[in-house]
């Protein structure tokens, strides 16, 4: 019997080691709750944003090289987007005069007519794309709205805001990043 127990032990041992390593491997991975913190675009050239704007114009992010661009994904039905809108207006108004930064908004999973009405009601004179923005949203790795990306004058994505932002937070981020971007 003792011999049988010893034999069983030598079978169980390697299986237990293999299973233990497997559990260790799975347990040491990033937890699912931290997935949203993954920011793959950091330091990458900003994915192309090009298309018609709701005022009948045309926007191409490559034409904005040389100044900061805040790429803002939003939805007219999202409360935090409504709350942050006046902050974007304030930021845009302040930087339009300086010419050093601009905002571009992309409606996410929304209707163009709702977007037009939203800007009529709430102000904002920056370019807004409302059609076929899904592919661009995926290219940026958007996970929800509001979500905003800071594109440096060099055309590289250097920051991201998940959730609502403020004009002061944007200014602080740009001030911090100014030394880093060339």
């Amino acid at each position: 019997m003792i011999m049988q127990e010893r034999q069983a032990f030598w079978i169980v041992l390697p299986v237990a080691v293999a299973l233990g390593l497997l559990v260790l491997l799975l347990a040491t991975g990033d937890p699912a709750s931290e997935r949203n913190n993954t920011f793959q675009l950091q330091g990458e050239v900003a994915p192309l944003i090009e298309g018609p704007t709701i005022d009948g114009g045309w926007f191409d992010i490559d034409d904005e090289r040389g100044r900061w661009v805040i790429v803002n994904f939003f939805s007219t039905s999202c409360v935090p987007c409504i709350v942050e809108h006046p902050e974007l207006v304030a930021f845009s108004d302040a930087h339009d005069a300086l010419g050093d930064a601009t905002v571009v908004s992309l409606a996410f999973d929304d209707r163009a007519e709702n977007v037009v009405k939203f800007f009529q009601d709430n102000g904002g004179s920056w370019p807004v794309l409302a059609q076929d923005t899904g592919e661009i949203a995926v290219q940026y790795g958007v996970t929800g709205v509001p979500e905003s990306y800071i594109v440096a004058p060099s055309g590289v994505v250097v920051g991201r805001f998940i959730g609502g932002l403020t004009a002061a937070a944007l200014d602080d981020a740009i001030a911090t990043l100014t030394g880093a971007d060339t």
């Binding site: 034999q7 293999a18 699912a32 997935r35 793959q40 999973d109 995926v138 996970t143 929800g144």
Partner: protein, 154 residues
Amino acid sequence: MTRRTASWLLVMVVALSALVVAAVDEGEPKTNADRAYSLAKDFACPVCQGQSIAESDVPIARTIRRNLRIWVDEGQSESFIRDELVSIYGEDIDYSPSTDGISALVWVLPIVGGVVAAAGLTIVFRRWKAEAISEASAADEALVAAARRERHDD
């Protein structure tokens, strides 16, 4: 080959056949929509817990599903689509663990454990069986005889 061995072999053949058929016989997606849906099942919704892009109805999952359809319609390969989504949302989005680096152990360890366990059990069962049919010792026979006598006396 005994009848019992043949029965076990038959059970193993049936079980293995069922596994192979289940793994292989899903059939190739027939349309682009089928292929896009099949791909959507392979990726995790980036903002959900335990739901695939195919299952989730949050806006980003719907958007990624639409993108999958566009990529499939464009004729992009599965590896292109996989690489694209992993480069954007990170490896966590891919339900199939990577076969490179330390992640490959996720594939290797269960196989190693299974093979070691099967081999070990086979060896031990054979050894135990050989021990079981060994002849009774004189002490065993004396014990059995005593038990019989006692029963007979009762």
